[in-house]
């Protein structure tokens, strides 16, 4: 195994992307993406900015539309069918670079909003789940504050808890630590590592190479809208095959 974490990888496919292409206007952002994610897998995507890595994971819960090819999430194909989109979105949680907490709602309300309105869970039960996950991310005492009163790291942990409250089967992370001050990055990464230990299927766009080495089963390197290289972490970092990967790694690791 690549790292110390236990992986209960089954042969069950969580996400299947086949020959997927996407354009912004005439700009070809994603080119012939093929990718399979098994349930329980933890994938880190990295690459220079503008390489299409964020766009790729945003396609997985259809915040962006793809124009060609197929994306199947948990057996549901993403098409224009609203029912399918709803189903996928309630199975897939997402954490954003800028947290995107709802500033007019308390932490508790942020956490219970979707379970109540989407999952149609009684409020008492939703509150209970919310407290459980707030404990899990280690900030139960902030439950009745507003997002603006929390630090960046705390906000990002709340955002993770908010996604978890929907009991997702897959979690997407879109550069979750790049808007944070250095001293707060660790608390968020620790939360994510805890999540990985629980066996969550994760796709994470990040430049935290330490995190990739500690947690990922597989690292994908993207450039110019295409997957350039993928491999298990040790091999990826110690023995990169492609020139672009080598260049990128030398820049990001700083030596």
């Amino acid at each position: 195994m690549a790292n110390a974490l236990q992986t209960n990888m089954t042969q069950e496919v969580a996400i299947q992307i086949t020959a997927m292409n996407k354009w912004y206007g005439t700009f070809h952002v994603l080119r012939d993406i093929n990718m399979t994610v098994q349930t329980g897998e933890r994938i880190v995507i990295c690459g220079p900015s503008g390489s299409g890595k964020s766009t790729l994971i945003r396609c997985v819960n259809r915040l962006e539309e793809h124009q060609q090819g197929q994306i199947i999430v948990d057996g549901t194909e993403l098409t224009n069918d609203i029912k399918n989109i709803d189903k996928v979105r309630s199975e897939v949680g997402m954490v954003f670079q800028h947290f995107n907490l709802f500033p007019h709602l308390t932490i508790m309300e942020n956490l219970t909003l979707a379970p109540i309105w989407v999952r149609k869970i009684p409020k008492a039960e939703a509150d209970e789940t919310a407290m459980y996950f707030l404990n899990k991310v280690k900030i139960p005492e902030q439950a009745h504050k507003y997002p603006g009163q929390l630090s960046g790291g705390q906000q990002q942990r709340v955002a993770i808890a908010r996604s978890l409250c929907m009991k997702p089967r897959i979690m997407l992370f879109d550069e979750p630590t790049s808007a944070l001050d250095p001293e707060m990055i660790k608390e968020v990464l620790d939360t994510m590592i805890g999540l990985a230990q629980d066996g969550m299927t994760m796709i994470c766009v990040t430049h935290e190479m330490g995190f990739a080495q500690a947690v990922a089963n597989r690292v994908i390197f993207m450039d110019q809208g295409q997957i350039v290289e993928q491999n298990e972490p040790r091999e990826f970092f110690n023995n990169p095959k492609s020139d672009r990967t080598k260049l990128f790694l030398s820049q990001i690791l700083g030596h």
């Binding site: 292409n21 354009w23 206007g25 005439t26 700009f27 070809h28 080119r31 012939d32 399979t36 124009q67 060609q68 089963n217 597989r218 450039d223 110019q224 809208g225 295409q226 997957i227 350039v228 290289e229 993928q230 491999n231 298990e232 091999e235 095959k241 492609s242």
Partner: protein, 478 residues
């Protein structure tokens, strides 16, 4: 474990046919859903209605006729008895009144020159840091002014002299922009003289008052300090204006006569009047607004209370009450037998009015400054006024310019309200006079459209400029 290495990079492909071109644009922008299709149909119906209603009227318009009856008969002849058509002939016949009011036609060159010089004088303010843009503005303005001067009546020698002057100004704007600042400083006096005429010495001796102020300040400030020197300077200047001003001007006029035909204030009207009131009020109100904004930010209770009281009072009453104050009440507040020009009285009250609004805009600009700027200024050992002049104000004003432009747009539109104190502004004053003419009785759309179009061009242009500035500020700060 899936491993994968790409050996050959993919080249970008064109999007599939269904995802590009007109079809996609139409589908996304007009027909993406049932609601959208409904909106599209509604939009097209509205457009159709407006066009069918107004287009024939515009196209059937008549440009030359001597009365509305003649207009109508020409339209009936050309387009059939039931056709509707605009009678632009009224604009053709009376446009000069909408622009110049009752200014003597043979002297139109004076307002034209004043307006051209306004833009030239503004060039260093608008583009002080960019000689290329300033030069471009001044050249275009000079060219247009020369063209306009060519079209109005004036002596040939004067035309040639003024053209030469304007060409020189364009050259200076490109090469030595700083020299244009002198024109900017002289501009107010020059314009008052150009528009109202009379002896040049009157203006010169008023300017001399400022000279007295500056001289007193320069002489005394090293010995007595800035505040006392300023105080003495102001007192000296006021004494000059009250006691010596008139006499000196008269004496000089006797010695070297330098006068042009005087024009009474009641001859001012139309857009000329709107610009006089708008431009003078906004430029006078800006310094007062800055002082009020500083007063509102001040730690001194009394200064703050007075500023807040003034600002909130002015912002709480309609402009029209301020104008009535100018026409009805000012005579009570000033010493008996002071009786001065209605336009000047209106300018004073409108200045006070827009000063309160500018103060709020500048306060917003001050609030947007990071606290560190104040601390840095203190740390450099600058005193309050130095800090304001060198550090705080340049930044705060830059941020406030879009707001100030908006205030000016509002003020320029509001100059139409002076009609209610009997001044002949273009919208209601001139239009009422024109429509009272027996030949043009019954015309209403055309003059209002004409006046509205001019207002639209000026205000829309300025609001675009302010948007451009806002965009520029945003990129400057990032």
């Amino acid at each position: 474990m899936q491993t994968f290495v790409r050996t050959e990079m993919l080249t970008p492909q064109a999007p599939p046919v269904t995802e590009r071109g007109v079809v996609k644009w139409l589908r996304e922008n007009l027909f993406s859903s049932a609601l959208n299709i409904g909106l599209t149909l509604l939009g097209i119906a509205t457009l159709y209605y407006v066009v069918t209603l107004s287009l024939p009227w515009l196209l059937n318009g008549v440009w030359t006729a001597s009365s509305l009856t003649e207009c109508r008969s020409i339209i009936a002849q050309n387009a059939g008895p039931d056709a509707s058509g605009a009678c632009w002939a009224i604009i053709h016949a009376r446009w000069y009144q909408f622009i110049y009011g009752f200014y003597p036609p043979e002297l139109y060159w004076r307002p034209v020159l004043a307006f051209g010089l306004l833009l030239v004088a503004l060039a260093p303010i608008l583009f002080g840091d960019n000689a290329r843009n300033a030069g471009l503005l001044v050249s275009i303005v000079s060219a247009l002014t020369i063209l306009s001067l060519f079209l109005v009546n004036m002596p040939m020698w004067l035309f040639l002299a003024l053209s030469a002057g304007l060409i020189l100004a364009s050259y200076l704007a490109y090469t030595r922009l700083n020299l244009l600042w002198y024109l900017t400083l002289l501009y107010p006096f020059l314009t008052v003289w150009l528009l109202w005429g009379g002896s040049l010495w009157g203006q010169v001796s008023i300017m001399a008052g400022f000279g007295v102020l500056v001289a007193a300040y320069r002489l005394l400030s090293p010995r007595l300090g800035v505040p006392i020197a300023t105080g003495i300077g102001v007192v000296a200047a006021v004494l000059w204006w009250l006691l010596l001003d008139d006499k000196v001007a008269e004496a000089m006029q006797h010695l070297i006569p330098l006068a042009i035909t005087p024009i009474e204030s009641d001859k001012m009207g139309g857009f000329l009047l709107a610009f006089i009131i708008g431009v003078s009020s906004i430029s006078l109100s800006l310094p007062i607004g800055i002082l009020l904004a500083l007063g509102r930010q001040s730690d001194m209770f009394l200064v703050k209370a007075l500023s807040v009281g003034f600002i909130e009072f002015v912002r709480g009453v309609p402009l029209i009450t301020m104008l009535f104050t100018a026409s009805l009440l000012l005579q009570y507040f000033l010493p008996p037998n002071t009786n001065f020009d209605l336009i000047l009285r209106v300018v004073i009250l409108v200045t006070l009015f827009s000063a309160a609004y500018n103060a709020e805009v500048v306060r917003g600009g001050l609030a947007a400054l990071p606290k560190g700027q104040y601390e840095a200024a203190d740390a450099l050992g600058l005193d309050y006024w130095q800090a304001q002049r060198l550090i705080i104000m340049p930044q705060a004003l830059k941020v406030s310019i879009p707001g100030i432009v908006s205030t000016f747009i509002g003020l320029f539109k509001d100059t139409t309200l002076v009609t209610f104190v009997g001044l002949a502004e273009p919208l209601r004053g001139i239009t009422t006079i024109v429509r009272a003419d027996i030949n043009w009785k019954g015309v209403y759309w055309e003059p209002y459209l004409f006046v509205g179009a001019i207002f639209f061009v000026v205000c829309y242009g300025m609001s675009r400029y302010s948007l451009y500035l806002e965009g520029k500020l945003r990129t400057d700060h990032n």
